[in-house]
């Protein structure tokens, strides 16, 4: 027995039976149908309207690239943006604005994820269905309010609270933290904090909606087995629901970041667009989208200026498209009707 085993091992594995064993049905070569040009046209025609969005995206990219001409600009990857300097050549650094976009979008994403997670857990786990049927649409309505309305509300009304109360309070009590001390916050209340506030509100509906859907996809079996083992609702949420729905939560983070990063008008109204790094968290700075929007008029006729703006546009497009595609990748079973408008 042992010898036989040793011999068979020495001989290597037994050769596989030939693929066409007599028991399997014989394969018949069906010739592919020959199609006339008219039939090929019939197959091809539906692809034309289906790829209109691709054509529009391609048109955007081609337009931006053509305007830049892919020409090297002076100091493009520096943080010095000076279109009309008093002396010397103009400098077209875009890093200040990319940094500014991250400075506003990342805190906004953090706040909206934390609040969104709380709202979603309250809605799915704790509140009765009859209450959430009225509360959930209210959160979704946040997404419906136009950004320019948020902007005028924040500029005329909310900024007074930031200028008179919140910013001085933070400045007095937290100025030992690096980044909070330094020059006193502007009295107008415009600047980074109110931009983060507005962006949090604008990212909140999409993060809440996606996290809610992720938590709802948890099978009832898992939920009830957790409870039956003696865990509290909070513990089942923490140890079962959130790990189970982590794909949806990740997609909420990606799409919320995309929303906050690309937001244009509301930020342009409240951030005090400036072409410099902020000295502390109360100052204004520029984001890519808000600068592209508010300065295009003054770039008319200056081809280098337009090229610099289009380089910024390409950077913005690359970041938002990457984030969006990554976010959609994680959405699996979603109530697609609700997401269609976001």
């Amino acid at each position: 027995m042992d010898d036989a085993l040793a011999r068979s091992e020495a001989a290597g594995p037994e050769p596989l039976p030939p693929p066409s064993s007599p028991s399997s049905p014989p394969t018949v070569d069906v010739p592919r149908p020959r199609r006339s040009p008219g039939q090929w046209l019939q197959i091809f025609v539906p692809y034309i309207p289906s790829f209109v969005p691709l054509a529009i995206v391609a048109a955007i990219v081609v337009t931006l690239v053509l305007v830049t001409g892919l020409a090297p600009l002076n100091g493009l990857f520096t943080s010095k943006f000076a279109p009309t300097p008093s002396s010397g050549p103009a400098s077209w650094g875009i890093l200040v604005f990319v940094t500014g976009s991250f400075l506003t979008a990342v805190p906004a994403l953090f706040f909206s994820m934390v609040i969104g997670l709380g709202i979603a857990i309250a809605s799915v786990v704790y509140l009765p269905r009859i209450v959430t049927r009225f509360l959930d649409p209210c959160v979704d309505l946040l997404a419906g309010i136009p950004s320019v309305v948020y902007g005028i509300w924040a500029y005329l009304y909310v900024s007074t609270y930031f200028g008179s109360t919140l910013n001085p309070f933070l400045f007095r009590n937290l100025s030992w933290i690096p980044g909070v001390g330094g020059p006193a916050p502007p009295l107008s209340g415009l600047g980074l904090p109110i931009s983060v506030f507005i962006l949090t509100l604008m990212a909140l509906p999409i993060t809440t909606l996606l996290i809610r859907d992720a938590l709802r996809t948890v099978p009832r079996d898992l939920w009830e087995s957790g409870l039956a083992l003696g865990a509290t609702r909070w513990e089942v949420t923490r140890r079962v629901s959130i790990p189970y729905g982590r794909g949806g939560i990740l997609s909420a983070a990606f799409l919320g970041f995309g929303r906050a990063f690309g937001e244009t008008v509301a930020v342009a109204m409240v951030i005090n667009v400036e072409a410099s790094y902020p000295h502390n968290i109360f100052q204004g700075t520029g984001t890519v989208a808000s600068l592209m929007f508010s300065i295009l008029d003054s770039a008319y006729g200056n081809s280098q200026f337009l090229a610099a703006l289009c380089y910024m546009g390409l950077a913005l497009l690359a970041i938002t498209l990457t984030v969006n595609v990554a976010g959609r990748y994680f959405i699996s079973k979603l109530s697609a009707t609700e997401i269609a408008g976001l």
């Binding site: 337009t63 509300w153 609702r233 513990e235 595609v325």
Partner: protein, 303 residues
């Protein structure tokens, strides 16, 4: 109600159900307080909505008269007649164009494309929907205003806006036709309907409410857009005489006047914001009511 007492001879410490250790009390208390406190986070979302509506209404309503809403004479720049009528015209045209660009693509994606090609088409639609509005505005500015030489005209604004609205209509058409149950589709095609007959006579009646809903949603999104419009057409005080004359959109009025040093101009911006808010929130509520009603009605069909 008192529980029946069963004498088993066990002390409470032996049984997990009578566990009153500090850790268990902490766990149960944490859960209970999470349930009490987390719902208050809804206020973070709901209070800003109420505050926006309250502030905008409070500032706009006292000065909002019928004359402000309807006066279109250029002698009176403190009226909103011109932007309101122009916005209605432009939105009508842009919605029609967006339906033209998006509807057929969505239907073809759902009905004719292979699974793989449809996945790509949906990815591109999602990419376009995720594109920041200022980038679409740049396309309109460079392509329509400068390259085609149209300048700040109504047609440039309408086209840009329709490009912005296209992916929403595309996705909702795709979704509406994809969610028609398989057995209905196969019954129609199996009894000899041509694909176009199936789409027109079987698919369209089922998908229509959802598509109409999507169109409303796209209008609500489009009418609130500022960047694509301000970059392609603004700064007119009269009604557009033709497609090639400048036009004034409602959001552009807000953007031009919100930080004006003149209180009259700021009041005008607030009135425009109020009208916009009423239209957009109204459309959103209508969309929700329609979708809730038709979901119920369609569920019966899908069983």
């Amino acid at each position: 109600m008192a529980l029946p007492s069963v004498s088993t001879g066990a002390t409470p410490d032996d049984n997990i159900l009578f566990d009153r250790s500090a850790r268990t009390r902490w766990r149960i208390g944490f859960d209970r307080w999470a349930g009490r406190l987390l719902p208050f986070l809804f206020l973070v979302a709901i209070l800003p909505i109420l505050d926006v509506v309250y502030y905008i209404s409070k500032s706009a309503l006292p000065t909002l008269t019928l004359k402000v809403l309807t006066d279109t004479s250029y002698r009176d720049p403190d009226a909103l007649g011109v932007p309101i009528i122009t916005t209605a015209e432009m939105m009508t045209l842009a919605t029609l164009l967006a339906i033209l660009f998006g509807l057929f693509g969505g239907i073809a994606t759902a009905e004719f494309l292979s699974e793989r090609a449809a996945g790509w088409a949906r990815t591109f639609a999602n990419m376009l929907a995720g594109t920041p509005s200022v980038i679409v505005g740049y396309l309109g500015y460079f392509a329509f205003c400068l390259y085609f030489g149209w300048g700040y005209t109504m047609i440039a604004g309408v086209l840009t806006l329709s490009l912005f609205m296209t992916p929403y209509i595309f996705r909702i058409a795709d979704l509406a036709f994809s969610s028609i149950p398989r057995h209905i589709r196969e019954a129609a095609l199996g009894s000899g309907a041509r694909p176009y007959q199936y789409i027109l006579k079987v698919g369209a009646p089922i998908a229509f409410p959802q598509i109409l809903n999507g169109v409303f949603l796209a209008v609500a999104i489009g009418v609130g857009e500022t960047a694509p419009i301000v970059l392609t057409t603004h700064g007119s005080v009269i009604l557009p005489q033709s497609l090639l004359s400048p036009a004034q959109f409602l959001t552009a009025t807000i953007w031009e006047n919100f930080n004006s040093p003149f209180p009259v101009a700021v009041a005008l911006a607030l009135q425009a914001a109020f009208i916009l808010l009423v239209v957009v929130v109204g459309l959103n509520i209508v969309v929700r009511i329609i979708s809730a009603r038709y979901r119920k009605r369609l569920e019966g069909l899908f069983q």
